[in-house]
């Protein structure tokens, strides 16, 4: 069974009297363990697709099934619970809470899972260790470099042990060396069996995934498996 199953997805935004049709019938499925790049120029609808996949936004038409659960007509509370249970987010601008330490940021999704405090802290440290930032656990985001911040964000996305990781331009704010380090980490997480979707407009980043879905003007124009370029060789 597919991890993500999308059928005939439409999304349009109302801009005053005009309606902007962003997604025009997307059909698309992702198996467990895949590492998929969603590519496209700006305005192609790739971020909108990711937001719908991440339940941050809702489609006007079509069906979306996540791990056998139909995602439809969710109220805010239900959407929040699903996000917490199913999804981990990695953002271009990291979106760490600036007054919380690295470890506290990582532990935050676990807080919303009602995990006991001690367990939460242990788990946060464990995931920080996985991204190589155990020594930075007590530091605030402002004391970390961009690459380190993104790694904290990845640890946070991983901490809740989600079914799918959604990364929106995860390397958009980073230089190429740091970008490859982050991609290396994402590849390793994927190697461990996690399903990951990466939105990017950079071809070299897309080549580091196993499959590239190309979006143009709200439709999929290309969907191909590629031979993965390992990021480790550039690090």
């Amino acid at each position: 069974m597919a991890m993500i199953e999308i059928k005939d997805l439409h999304k349009s935004y109302q801009m005053g009297s005009n309606s902007l049709h962003v997604l025009k019938g997307i059909n698309f499925s992702v198996e467990a363990g895949e590492l998929v790049a969603i590519m496209g120029s700006s305005g192609s609808g790739k971020s909108t697709l990711l937001n719908i996949l991440g339940m941050l936004d809702e489609a006007n038409e079509g069906s979306y099934v996540l791990d056998g659960v139909p995602i439809k007509n969710l109220n805010e509370t239900k959407a929040a619970q699903y996000r917490n249970k199913f999804l981990g987010f990695i953002f271009q601008s990291f979106n760490l809470i600036n007054y919380k330490s690295a470890a506290e940021n990582v532990a935050l999704p676990l807080y919303y899972q009602r995990m006991p405090r001690k367990e939460r802290q242990e788990k946060a440290i464990k995931y920080l260790e996985q991204v190589g930032l155990k020594e930075w656990a007590t530091h605030l985001p402002s004391e970390l470099s961009g690459g380190q911040k993104q790694r904290v964000a990845i640890a946070r996305a991983m901490a809740a042990e989600p079914k799918v990781l959604l990364a929106d331009e995860p390397t958009g704010a980073l230089d190429s060396k740091t970008s490859y380090e982050v991609m290396d980490l994402i590849q390793k997480i994927n190697d461990a069996g996690n399903t990951i979707l990466v939105v990017t407009h950079e071809p070299d980043i897309a080549d580091m995934c196993k499959r590239i879905v190309h979006l143009k003007d709200g439709v999929i124009v290309e969907d191909k498996k590629v031979k993965q370029v390992r990021a480790a060789q550039y690090v």
Binding site: L56, R83, I97, Q113
Partner: protein, 409 residues
């Protein structure tokens, strides 16, 4: 909503956002502080007011003889009018149904001596009922009584400060004081809320005084205590008929302003009460204004706080925070801060009022105070309004879609 983990999260947030916490706490504390102090000052003003006007009985008319300024019924002008014991009797007989009591008053000064100590005091000779007119409070012994009047005894009742001056802490009851050459027995000690001057007075029977003054029956003035039930209108009517009666009896022209005077305290009382009422309205106006300003201040801070946290709310929602938990956290945090700082502000305000005491007496503020009930109620009101003011923007922020909130820079 009330588990320990939630509170830990809230405390951490408070701790790590010191400026924000300080700002909102400061606003609340300042608001309630100003309210408490203003309210206290208002009460202080009223205290001063009551001290000025409120220490004697108000159901009283004072009758003073004067000197005529107009000729009348064959009498020349500039004739001196005098009151005597027959006037007391006449008042009692003719106005009985309105009266509570009637007492004459004869005031003299005298040198009082006891052992080595001596000083000048004013001596009031009167009937027992002057105790009511002057609101004299007995501390020990008894007041002048009817037997003192009938027997023209040489018993006196002295003020608290007279006792303090002359007896230096020794017991005074039953002791003899030398007053202008003859000795009098102290039968009572009194206090009076009207101030120090009122406690440096010695009371004696008016009949005793009249015997001393070469067996005369003259009195300086007459104090008429009327039944409070007759009210303001009744008091004004009584004043008028007393005036008519005495002008007839003493042959004073009805138009003569100087032959005799009647001081009517009710009239003053009414003015005073009106003045106090206006004062109360002004003070209430200030207090309500301060409270509203405080509420607006808190609301502003709350809107600002929530606005500042929009992105954080977006992040939390992306990580799985439900709208309810977002609102709950923000509300609990703000209520916690307002409660603590509100009560701190209140306690500081009460502390300031208590500390001030009499120091602002020159500015007509005496012993400012606030009822604890009002202080606490207004603090709670501020907290509730702060909560409402926080809830509305928090609810709105929690309803924003996470992507919109995340875009907020």
């Amino acid at each position: 909503m009330f588990n320990r983990d939630n509170w830990k999260e809230i405390f951490e947030t408070i701790q790590k956002n010191k400026l924000r916490t300080f700002l909102s706490g400061f606003t609340v504390a300042l608001g309630i502080l100003i309210f408490v102090v203003l309210y206290g000052f208002g009460n202080g003003l009223k205290n001063t007011f009551n001290e000025f006007f409120g220490n004697d009985a108000t159901n009283v008319l004072y009758l003073f003889p004067g000197r005529t300024s107009e000729p009348y019924l064959g009498y020349k002008a500039n004739r001196r009018i005098e009151f005597d014991n027959s006037d007391l009797k006449d008042i009692k007989e003719n106005f009985a149904m309105f009266l509570d009591y009637v007492t004459p008053q004869i005031s003299r000064g005298a040198l009082a001596k006891y052992g080595e100590e001596s000083d000048n005091y004013s001596i009031r000779a009167a009937a027992p009922s002057i105790q009511e007119a002057e609101k004299v409070i007995l501390m020990e012994g008894r007041f002048i009584n009817q037997s003192d009047i009938d027997n023209k005894t040489k018993n006196i009742v002295i003020g608290r400060l007279v006792k303090k001056d002359l007896f230096q802490g020794k017991p005074a009851l039953g002791e003899f004081i030398d007053l202008g050459g003859s000795s009098y027995r102290v039968v009572g000690v009194f206090q009076d809320d009207g101030g120090d001057r009122e406690e440096r007075i010695i009371y004696m029977s008016y009949t005793t005084r009249q015997r001393l003054d070469k067996a005369t029956d003259k009195v300086d003035q007459i104090i008429v205590g009327f039944k409070p039930a007759i009210g303001y209108e009744g008091a004004m009517a009584l004043e008028k008929s007393l005036s008519t009666y005495f002008r007839e009896k003493k042959y004073i022209s009805p138009k003569d302003p100087n032959g005799m005077y009647i001081r009517n305290v009710t009239d003053q009382l009414k003015q005073n009460q009106q003045f106090a009422g206006v004062l109360q309205i002004i003070i209430s106006f200030f207090c309500v204004g301060t409270l509203i300003a405080g509420i607006i201040g808190i609301s502003n801070i709350m809107v600002f706080v929530v606005k500042e946290r929009t992105k954080e709310i977006g992040i939390r929602k992306a990580l799985g925070a439900t709208p309810k938990s977002v609102i709950g956290t923000i509300l609990l945090e703000s209520i916690f801060i307002t409660t603590i700082s509100g009560f701190i502000g209140m306690m500081i305000g009460v502390g300031i009022l208590t500390g001030l005491g009499d120091t602002l007496k020159d500015y007509f503020i005496t012993d400012p105070y606030i009822d604890m009930g009002i202080a606490i109620a207004s603090t709670i009101m501020l907290i509730i309004f702060g909560g409402i003011a926080g809830y509305i923007p928090a609810k709105r922020a929690a309803d924003i879609k996470p992507i919109v909130a995340l875009r907020d820079e």
